[in-house]
């Protein structure tokens, strides 16, 4: 269990249902409370209303891309300070640089980062933000 009674909230914004479930299973196993959004709009709405401790954000999504979601998160007062980890299949360095420059804490390639590693990265970032 994380914390004392109050669970850490992780918001996953990912349009692929199978991947969303996969990360949810692993994070819940570690004692996190997991919220899920299947597109950018839903992700933004939940970020504002639920105030998660950390957000895992996909990039290639229909309608509004993860980069745009990140932009809006960082320029909205109530969500600007929530740390974001980008999770994507886009391997190009230029995308990674873009993500980090836009304020993401980390940039993970889904096909190269196993769910257990994602959990480690989440812990790393939460520690950095003194949330655990």
């Amino acid at each position: 269990m994380e914390g004392e009674g109050k669970k850490i909230k992780v918001l996953i914004v990912e349009d692929d249902e199978s991947l969303r479930e996969m990360y949810k299973i692993r994070l819940e196993y570690e004692g996190f409370e997991v919220l899920a959004a299947s597109n950018g709009e839903e992700g933004l709405a939940k970020a504002v209303s639920e105030q998660p401790d950390i957000i895992l954000l996909d990039i290639m999504m229909p309608k509004i891309s993860g980069f745009d979601v990140l932009d809006i998160l960082k320029s909205t007062h109530s969500t600007a300070k929530i740390p974001v980890i980008i999770m994507t299949v886009l391997e190009q360095e230029s995308n990674k640089v873009k993500g980090l420059m836009q304020g993401a804490e980390d940039y993970l390639i889904k096909s190269q980062t196993m769910p257990a590693e994602v959990v480690n990265k989440v812990r790393e970032v939460l520690k950095k933000y003194n949330k655990i």
Binding site: R26, V97, P115
Partner: protein, 282 residues
């Protein structure tokens, strides 16, 4: 009598001369037209090849991206099973490991395919300054170098301003990516140094690292397709053994040379040479 003969002769000569000149003029025009037709046809074919290449690249880009999602799913779920290996029946652990290895290989191949598809040879400019290109590529490694506590140094040498090289910029960018990727992957401490040397008709670029190096046994084989040095590093880092093979192909296509010097436990230097462009207009 004589006068008439001379007049007729004069006219004959005149008509013949006009006829010959006319024929020569017609022939030259015809050749010019043939040349112009050929040039037009060449331009048309080149245009079609360009379009085809663009279409192919877009297709490869979409497919490789689409391939990555099921790969992420398969690997992810298998790793969830693998984490629970104590509760698996005896042989199951090995089965799962093998399945994961196979998919990881698939993933590396997709990456290699994507990389290869980014190389274009039909470029407007194939004479360029390699200095800014190296700087641009090195910048992208700042973050990971910082995390691994490595120093990255760029030494453009003393022959400044750098002469332009005759090569395809996008393919050389991929080449640099491959070499720097390797350098960073196999170096845990110290530095990576890219330096330039100009000599004779070639410009030489050295990519030097203080990494684990390549054994004498592996050195003669490193440019071979799918060859991977048998170290714990390669087993840990996966990959598919196509990096240096592709690098060599890129160099060959650009009429350059590439070679490697290495010492196990000390480091590696990969050097490639590109022909200097002569009489170019900037």
């Amino acid at each position: 009598m004589m006068e008439n003969f001379l007049i007729i002769l004069g006219y004959l000569i005149l008509i013949t001369t006009v006829g010959v000149l006319g024929y020569l003029f017609y022939k030259k025009n015809n050749e010019a037209k043939k040349l112009s037709d050929l040039l037009n046809k060449y331009e048309e074919v080149r245009q079609r090849l360009n379009e085809f290449e663009e279409m192919k690249n877009e297709f490869v880009s979409i497919i490789t991206h689409e391939l990555s999602t099921p790969v992420a799913r398969a690997l992810g779920y298998l790793s969830l099973i693998f984490e629970d290996k104590e509760n698996l029946p005896p042989q199951m652990e090995e089965h799962v490991e093998r399945a994961m290895d196979a998919i990881q290989k698939l993933s590396s191949l997709v990456s290699a395919l994507l990389r290869a598809s980014r190389i274009s040879f039909e470029e407007k400019q194939n004479v360029f300054n390699i200095g800014p290109l190296i700087s641009e590529v090195l910048k992208q490694y700042d973050e990971i170098a910082h995390r691994k506590n490595l120093t990255i140094v760029f030494d453009p040498g003393t022959h400044l301003p750098l002469p332009y090289v005759k090569a395809s910029p996008s393919s050389i960018k991929e080449l640099l990516d491959i070499l720097l990727d390797n350098a960073v992957k196999f170096t845990e401490k110290g530095y990576i140094r890219v330096s330039i040397l100009v000599e004779g008709d070639y410009l030489y670029v050295n990519v030097e690292d203080t990494g684990c190096g390549i054994s004498e046994k592996d050195l003669p084989h490193i440019f071979e397709k799918f060859y991977q040095a048998d170290t714990s590093y390669t087993r840990e880092h996966g990959g598919v053994g196509l990096g240096l093979y592709l690098a060599q192909k890129i160099i060959e296509l650009n009429k350059g040379k590439i070679w490697v010097k290495s010492k196990e436990g000390v480091g590696t230097v990969v050097t490639f040479a590109l022909p200097i462009a002569k009489n170019y207009k900037i």
